[in-house]
Symmetry: C2
Subunit: 420 residues, 2 copies
């Protein structure tokens, strides 16, 4: 077993180095850290390291250490979604309800319409979807993959630019939050219905709905008590930390067990948490290790599954281009149009479209679930990885060009954490 | 793979619950949390859960999830030793050099003398040591196992009672630090020489000495730069966190790779770190997750290897009693006598002896390494687990009785983190 520990530590050193180096390069050209880490993960996989130095790649990422990488990834994205859930403010919607409603509806309807349009074509291409995937599942999955937004990245950009109280800030935050929540719900339905056994689907959908309902009512009340205890103690004690992490594990286990995914458990628990010293303390104590140590494991695990060489096939490359255009139309352009129609000025509308179009880490989480559950194949996975990276790369320059340079109050703040 | 994630989350929820419940019970009777968690780990293993509900135990801790538990444990104890290293103050020794020297020499000479006395007897009992363990290795390993001190627990008790500047505080901290460092060195030598191949031994000893020398000179200077960067930034940035975690992984990998153990890599790196905002920030960001989430994995992994039913054999039970007495004589009594001989009053000397005699988590780390490297067998492992738990259980009441109640300034502060 000691050899296992040694290779784990070596592997982690390489992963952390790769993520930091590529992340640093990304920040040098004005991109957020998350883009760098997404690319670093792909580079560590069969698309570069495995292609150039197959032996090194195989020695570094053995079958055994891949299991560790998988568990570390699941823990990482689960905790990350828990942290994201704690930052979610449902009150945002009310503040700017009508614009937000039209932008978020556009950001949902257009992606699912495009998903429905593309699915009949793509499902016939061998290797994109699993044999057992049915047309409506393919359409819904594609729709969710197009509809997802890099909500945490969007929130970070808005806070860093001091836009949190502005029309743009409120609009983008509210619409992004609603669309993300909707996309996760649709994904949960797809996961629940996948496999065809109606008993499994009922457990998953019914269990998921009941669990969410329970957590957001009684669960929220129970958690509020923990919030009061923290207020009294003046800090998050080790005992409180243990209770929260235990609840997190139970929540992740439950949603995994009923057939949706651990990320939902983390996310719902995060939303149900009482805002205040407890959430602030938990973020302080969990965010750094999650983002700096665990998420790079996820990027690498995802990258090990990404074979960019499938793009050498012209028909796959064509599909990739179509998917990329459809994603940008279905999200960025649709949200811009909805904001314009609702009377927002062109600059604000373009900025909203650019922010909503970036998908970041959230897209990787969704498509990794799709791959792991056997809904999509490696070709479509690679296509959607490229879509995720390109739409995330586009966001910052477009935002800077149409909006950022007009409102910036000093030097641009490079985004340093993971915000995808 | 998804089933693997689900069982990991379930397993962690059970582990965290067990550690907190038994830890809470321990604190109710005035014991530190670490004793509770040590016992919780044993209860989750074949000594209780596996005995009463073998099927539940086997379903909860499968071969596959045991691998995860192992890696999580290694990461946990590695990071913990890194945190302990950062708390180490070599300057302590100078402040009270002569008493500290005699106590620490007594706390080293007596254990190794007893180890040398016991080894010829114990090595003949089948199952205690591996067949390939030689007499001097057995003696040194036993000596180190008796000599180790729960340094972090000792430090926490002294700080919480406000004894940090007192003769007792300085004396116990200095002597504990020296003895622990010495015991780890001896263990490194045992690990290095074990296996018999002199090439391996030379790599391990030479590599370890060179690495420690490098880290404590040039390495310390390099790390001091990182300390200055943190001072300038005003906080530990994600990039800094990533660099430190990468250095930690490299250090753990290197010491694992040359044949000593990952904990040394963590510990040496911790000692070499510049004290200040960097170490304070790292402790803030790493301690909670390490202590609350990762260390319980270690206690459980250790507990899964502990078969207390070997004590049903009267000859094993006799050995356990002898080892327990020898450990208390060789550490607690020897340190008390040294302090007395050096002119400390009886109360201070008894308190020093009680604190030095507790072994806590440190003992579990040493004996798990011994088991994993094949130096000791399951019977001696179980005996030393019992010795670790009993000597740690003894420390607080003895300390309270001879010293604590005379100096306590208010209600006793229950020790809430892990300090063993």
């Amino acid at each position: 077993m000691q050899a296992l520990a040694a290779s784990f530590f070596l592997q982690m050193a390489v992963i952390l180095a790769a993520c930091r180096i590529v992340g640093w390069l990304a920040r040098r050209i004005g991109q957020p850290q998350v883009v760098g880490e997404m690319i670093a993960g792909v580079l560590l996989g069969p698309s570069l390291l495995g292609l150039l130095f197959p032996e090194t790649g195989a020695r570094l990422f053995t079958t055994e250490t891949r299991g560790m990488l998988y568990i570390g990834s699941q823990l990482g994205v689960g905790l990350y979604m828990f942290l994201v859930g704690m930052e979610f403010r449902t009150g945002l919607f009310r503040e700017r309800a009508r614009s937000a409603a039209s932008v978020s509806v556009a950001g949902m309807v257009a992606p699912f319409a495009l998903g429905a349009l593309l699915a009949p074509w793509l499902i016939k291409v061998p290797g994109l979807f699993a044999e057992s995937t049915r047309l409506h599942e393919a359409a819904l999955f594609l729709g969710a993959a197009i509809a997802i937004t890099a909500f945490p990245m969007l929130a970070r950009i808005i806070h860093e630019r001091g836009l949190a109280g502005t029309p743009l800030g409120t609009l983008a935050l509210a619409a992004g939050a609603i669309d993300d929540a909707a996309a996760w719900c649709v994904l949960a339905v797809v996961l629940a219905s996948f496999g065809g056994d109606s008993g499994i689907a009922i457990t998953a959908i019914g269990g998921g709905v009941l669990y969410a309902a329970f957590m957001l009512t009684l669960g929220r009340k129970g958690l509020a008590c923990l919030g009061r205890v923290t207020l009294r103690d003046g800090r998050v004690t080790p005992a409180m930390m243990a209770v929260i992490l235990m609840l997190f594990c139970l929540s992740a286990w439950f949603t995994d067990h009923i057939g949706i995914h651990a990320v939902f458990g983390g996310f719902i628990l995060g939303i149900a948490m009482p805002r205040g010293p407890l959430t602030a303390g938990l973020t302080e104590k969990l965010e750094s290790f999650t983002v700096v140590f665990l998420l790079p494991m996820f990027f690498t695990f995802s990258g090990l599954n990404t074979r960019l060489d499938v793009m050498l096939d012209p028909s796959i490359l064509l599909i990739a281009v179509v998917v990329l255009i459809a994603s940008t139309l279905g999200k960025g352009v649709a949200c811009w149009a909805a904001a314009r129609l609702h009377g927002e000025d062109n600059r604000t509308s373009l900025a909203v479209g650019a922010l909503m179009n970036s998908r970041g880490l959230m897209e990787l989480i969704i498509i990794n679930i799709g791959l792991q559950m056997g809904i999509i194949g490696r070709e479509l996975f690679a296509i959607l990885v490229v879509m995720a990276i390109v739409t995330t790369l586009m966001a910052t320059p477009v935002f800077e060009w149409v909006y950022g340079r007009h409102v910036r109050k000093g030097a641009p703040q490079p985004v340093n954490g993971i915000d995808g």
